[in-house]
């Protein structure tokens, strides 16, 4: 206590801050970084679960997975998923936020906001089960609609050509917390900027193009980063809907890692695949951050 009393106020503030930050920092190290580091360590061994770590095999786990055709097929599927996510679903919450922002009547805006937020509370596995029913070849709504439109019927989850799109399609409903973030960004635009724009004669589309979208840019960019990470880590939806089939056409790296661990009982190879995913994601995100920074400058 004497030590504390002798400290100057600035140091006391710093130490107090560190004390409050310490639990979160330690938990982050323990629950986030330790598994990454330990997993990396495991990837260099033919991991023995009874007498860990087992035989040190250096990069053999990596060369083994790099040789596997199924591993590269999972990566190929991942790239298609990322393209589909950005092409079909990423822009939907942006449009929803812009439309909500244009609504004048408060009760309509609030009702629609709540309505768009509801998808966020439905667990992903429940969503997957519902869409499996929607996609049922015989009595699913999807085929009823396509039949009514004269487009015939499709084996949505059984056709390798369609299955990835079918898995991503539920995201087109949009909404969720992401839409709320975009809306918050729009609400943060100062009124005097709108006033100035109106004085300059901006119409609605010009307002969106020159005022609203630039203000949302940083939020959209951050969300794009999160979306890329989530796409690369995609596991739950395809796992529940198809198990990675048919014939591995919807298998993600996450499912590949799970199967390597659960079916092939190889913790070392599963860890190698996980670490490789981590490196690829880190490089992609770093590259995007540099691009974003240079554009901002």
């Amino acid at each position: 206590m004497a030590f504390w009393a002798e400290l100057n106020p600035t140091r006391r503030k710093i130490i107090t801050g560190l004390i409050f930050l310490a639990p979160g920092f330690l938990f982050t190290i323990w629950l986030r970084y330790y598994p990454i580091l330990f997993g990396t360590y495991m990837s260099f061994f033919d991991w023995d679960v009874v007498n860990p770590p087992g035989e040190f095999i250096w990069l053999d786990n990596y060369t083994t997975i790099f040789r596997q055709g199924f591993y590269w097929q999972a990566w190929e599927n991942m790239l298609v998923y990322v393209l589909l996510v950005f092409g079909l679903t990423f822009w939907v919450p942006v449009v929803q936020a812009l439309l909500l922002d244009m609504i004048g009547r408060r009760w309509v805006k609030n009702t629609l906001t709540t309505f768009y937020l509801l998808p966020a509370v439905i667990p992903v596995t429940a969503t997957a089960m519902i869409w499996r029913w929607i996609y049922h070849p015989s009595y699913g709504i999807a085929n009823s609609i396509t039949s009514a439109l004269g487009l015939g019927t499709y084996a949505w989850l059984q056709d390798p050509q369609f299955v990835k799109m079918a898995i991503i399609l539920p995201g087109m409903i949009g909404g969720g917390l992401v839409m709320l973030l975009y809306l918050a960004a729009l609400y943060s635009i100062p009124d005097d900027i709108y006033d100035a724009a109106l004085i300059d004669g901006c119409n609605s589309s010009q307002l969106i193009r020159y005022i609203k979208l630039p203000f949302m840019r940083q939020v959209v960019f951050v969300q794009a980063l999160f979306t890329i990470v989530a796409s690369f880590q995609l596991l739950d939806l395809p796992f529940v809907m198809t198990g990675g089939g048919p014939a591995r056409s919807s298998e993600t790296i996450g499912i590949y890692i799970y199967n390597t661990y659960q079916d092939e009982l190889s913790l070392g190879r599963a860890s190698a695949a996980s670490f490789t995913l981590f490196i690829v994601l880190a490089v992609v995100i770093y590259a995007l951050l540099i691009i974003n920074r240079s554009e901002a400058e």
Binding site: D48, V49, V50, T64, R67, Q68, G69, F70, R132, H136, P137, S138, Y139, A155, L157, Q158, D159, P160, M241, T242, G243, G245, P246, A247, R248, S249, N259, Y261, Q262, D263, E264, L265, L267
Partner: protein, 434 residues
């Protein structure tokens, strides 16, 4: 004198009290705790036998964790996490991979087990590696061919199919798309190699060949494999299977139980399962597999075995042996199957103990005839190297299911080439290098 009296009284009180903690500590040392995983919560029957075990083995305290599903499938993950049970039932499908992963206790090392002489020796031999035993048989489930007798009667079909041609013909008579009834249920989403291998054998083919030195040769393009694939494609092209080919295995059994499926491969222990999902026992028809073009009607036998965690203490291993001996003993099995028979849900499964007979439990005559035939026609094991090559067979089968117009030779040749280029064949054969 007074002091001496007081001292004497004090010592007389202290002395017995000093023995008590020692006695308690000694009892605590002798009590062994065992953790085991179970699929379901305890039934009245389980509770009775659990109490009996506790009574006969007061030094063993058993904690049962209800896992749901198949706890044996989670055993490896438990060992990896460090919270694996001390003993668990594991299906034969997982047994080989678990032995190879080194996560099963060598039971031979734990001492003599006289009662093993009363077990099916062929089953036991399948659980040995280099002469050492790694599991104790619990139950045996031959793979049979199930058919819904009610749907057959409705369609005017008198008996089960005896050939592949009859499967197609009868499936056509039963299929009713409007009511979501399929003549045949096909395993198409996962583990497709499990049922597909039977059709390969029935077509006179083999997926792999075990060489005399135990190395493997892949024969995915064997004519029998292609014939089996074409049979699958015929069933799909003629729309005789379930419309939703993304159903998992459990959903297929549910479809059968709900009367939405006319025929499907059916393991002996699924009778109970299907009855619990609503079908009447008398509607479950069982037969051996219809003959393929070669006249062969083979499937494989499965089952589950008790295994012990090798990381537990010696005292726990000894306790685990006592537990398994109790639950694979004559008295328990006799009571277990009597209870099953009394509930009218007797599975047509062969006894793993040779001192028990199915005849003792009133198995319906049609089931016992089928069982006797299956024990002749079925193989004791699945295809050689299944643990390492199932994934490639599954890949090819799923391709021909997804595209029933695809040339199966192309699909299976690609899968075989993939297995070779992945190094899977070299890795498998390397274990037999001298």
């Amino acid at each position: 004198m007074k002091f001496k009296s007081v001292l004497l009284v004090v010592m007389m009180v202290i002395l017995p009290l000093s023995i008590v903690p020692g006695a308690i500590a000694q009892d605590a040392e002798e009590t062994v705790e065992l953790v085991m995983w179970a699929a379901n919560t305890e039934s009245e029957f389980d509770s009775y036998w659990g109490d009996l075990f506790d009574e006969q083995h007061p030094h063993i305290e058993v904690s049962t964790v209800v896992m749901g599903g198949d706890p044996g499938n989670e055993y490896f993950a438990g060992v990896a996490r460090g919270d694996a049970p001390d003993l668990v039932l594991v299906s034969l499908a997982k047994f080989d991979s678990y032995v190879n992963a080194g996560i099963l206790q060598n039971i031979t090392e734990l001492g003599e087990w006289d009662d093993l002489a009363n077990f099916d020796q062929e089953f036991l031999d399948g659980l040995r590696r280099d002469g050492d035993l790694y599991g104790i048989p619990n139950r045996s489930f031959p793979m049979l061919f199930g058919y819904n007798q009610a749907l057959f009667a409705e369609a005017g079909i008198e008996g089960p199919p005896t050939t592949w041609e009859e499967v197609i013909e009868y499936a056509g008579m039963i299929t009713n798309a409007d009511e979501d009834i399929s003549g045949y249920c096909m395993l198409s989403r996962e583990w497709t190699e499990w049922w597909f291998q039977y059709y390969v054998w029935q077509a006179g083919g083999e997926l792999t060949v075990q060489n005399p030195d135990n190395t493997i040769e892949l024969t995915f393009t064997d004519p029998g494999v292609i014939t089996a694939a074409e049979f699958y494609q015929t069933l799909i092209r003629e729309e005789l299977v379930q419309s939703d080919l993304s159903l998992d295995f459990g959903s297929l059994v549910s479809r059968f139980a709900a009367g939405n499926c006319g025929m499907m491969p059916f393991a002996a222990d699924w009778v109970n399962w299907a009855i619990s999902e609503g079908i009447q026992r008398e509607d479950i028809g069982l037969t051996i597999f219809p003959a393929g073009p070669s006249g062969n009607q083979s499937a494989a036998n499965s089952g589950d075995v008790w295994v012990i965690n090798p990381t537990i203490s010696d005292a726990q291993k000894a306790a685990a042996v006592e537990y398994i001996q109790f639950y694979t003993g004559y008295d328990y099995f006799n009571s277990f199957f009597s209870d099953m028979a009394n509930r009218g849900a007797m599975n047509p499964e062969p006894m793993v103990r040779t001192d028990l007979s199915l005849d003792d439990f009133g198995l319906p005559a049609e089931y016992s005839d089928v069982l006797a035939q299956a024990l002749i026609t079925n193989r004791p094991e699945e295809f050689y190297g299944k643990g390492d090559f199932a994934t490639y067979v599954d890949y090819a089968v799923q391709q021909i299911i997804a595209d029933p117009t695809m040339d199966p030779m192309e699909a299976f040749a690609e899968a075989q080439e993939l297995a070779i280029s992945d190094g899977a064949v070299d890795t498998f054969n390397a274990q037999f290098d001298e």
